[in-house]
Symmetry: C2
Subunit: 245 residues, 2 copies
């Protein structure tokens, strides 16, 4: 066993995370109610004992998740949702990054199976062209023995685009970097896998082209099943090492 595996991930509590926790306390303790204006940045950062830069970063992060809303030269207000919802949201913003591989792949399958279904229902001719191009790029990479992971993912992203659902596509994009990282690290797509994957891609494309939603999603599910099984075994490996190292 590699020595490296005996080390567990060190949790770094960034200043920003600490500040977000503090803001959460302000809200849950009732000092800051939904709809209220936040204290001025200068005063708040002094009260919290941190630099304004960090506080602004924290605000920006919470703003991204729709929890705060800041108006230039006017003030920052707490979103008008209930305290319970806010509380739950904030506490989870903090540990949003802690994805494990299997959960990630499982979620990907959920998104992709439905992307394929919607794509088969709504694809335009333009979409077909784009998917075909992406597939050809993938095929070229396979036959040249190049790295195929990105081209593979690119084809899948084109399907998401063809689904005509911007939200679905956005979520695919959000998980894509992690997918790529994990796949490259673990060498998930080695050996003959790319070749068989290529065939499956062609079948999926055909079903989408012929507007067969059920067949498209079923083939996609089948296509991703191998990876799902693989991710499960990987996770169990990791758990073994962590548990009894």
């Amino acid at each position: 066993m590699e020595l490296l595996n005996n080390f567990s991930r060190i949790e770094i509590e960034t200043p920003v995370d600490k500040i977000i926790k503090q803001i959460k306390v302000l809200i849950t303790s009732g000092q800051l109610k939904p709809g209220d204006r936040m204290p001025a940045e200068r005063k708040l950062c002094e009260k919290l004992g941190v630099g304004r830069t960090h506080l602004r970063d924290a605000i920006k992060k919470l703003e991204f998740y729709g929890i705060l809303k800041t108006m230039p030269q006017s003030g920052t207000v707490v979103a008008g949702m209930g305290i319970t919802a806010l509380e739950g949201l904030i506490s989870d913003v903090l540990m949003l990054e802690a994805n494990d591989f299997h959960a990630l792949v499982e979620t990907r399958v959920v998104l992709e199976v439905n992307s394929a279904r919607f794509a088969a229902m709504r694809r335009s001719d333009q979409d077909i062209k784009q998917m075909t191009n992406a597939l050809h790029d993938y095929e070229k990479a396979v036959s040249n023995g190049e790295d195929t992971v990105e081209h593979d993912l690119m084809f899948h992203l084109k399907i998401a685009e063809a689904s005509s659902n911007s939200a679905l596509k956005s979520l695919m994009l959000i998980i894509s970097p992690d997918i790529l990282t994990y796949f490259k690290e673990s060498n998930a797509c080695a050996g003959d896998r790319p070749i068989s994957a290529l065939e499956e891609h062609y079948i999926i494309l055909e079903h989408i082209k012929n507007q067969n939603p059920d067949e498209a999603s079923a083939t996609m599910k089948n296509h991703l099943q191998d990876i799902l099984d693989y991710s499960l075994s990987q996770n169990q490996l990791v758990e073994m090492k962590i548990g009894k190292a």
Copy 2:
């Protein structure tokens, strides 16, 4: 027709968005390859003709999406993924917020139906307790005639939590603020809807408790079908107004 509806949303191109576009050009034009170190912040912001603050904000945003990685006192590097994938990612980071209501709800249905299935498979006793509590809060809000939207969503988030899939839950969290906003704006949950929703919630919880994945997900799908239909009609309304206003 209200006069307000004749106005369409004004797109504000923030400095940060402009910078992200510029960085995209740098990458796609090959001047910046994956794995490369970015130019120093000072030099780059001078070249782009913007303040360093804005550049740093842009970098932070791209870092959040896993496109860049910055090491303190050392430099910022482009993530080691393929150019093709990067290209798709960056152009879509910009319009991630432009979700239309129907796409959002459709995506929500996809996530939730599977959350319910996984929750039924893997829920712990602790999860049951949390979901039950959330449901009781919701019931209380309904009988008090309070605003129920957040409590409703909170119950659904607890289901996502019970799914034991951190990625799935994270995605639910990401779309939650938008869901809330849209629902409140359009008064989607008015009249008797909360009461019938409450009943359906109890049925879903029961299926999850009894570990019936198929029933749980089917009931969830049914539960969300009304909202999906409603969102479709809303979208068509908006399209009419935009198209021929």
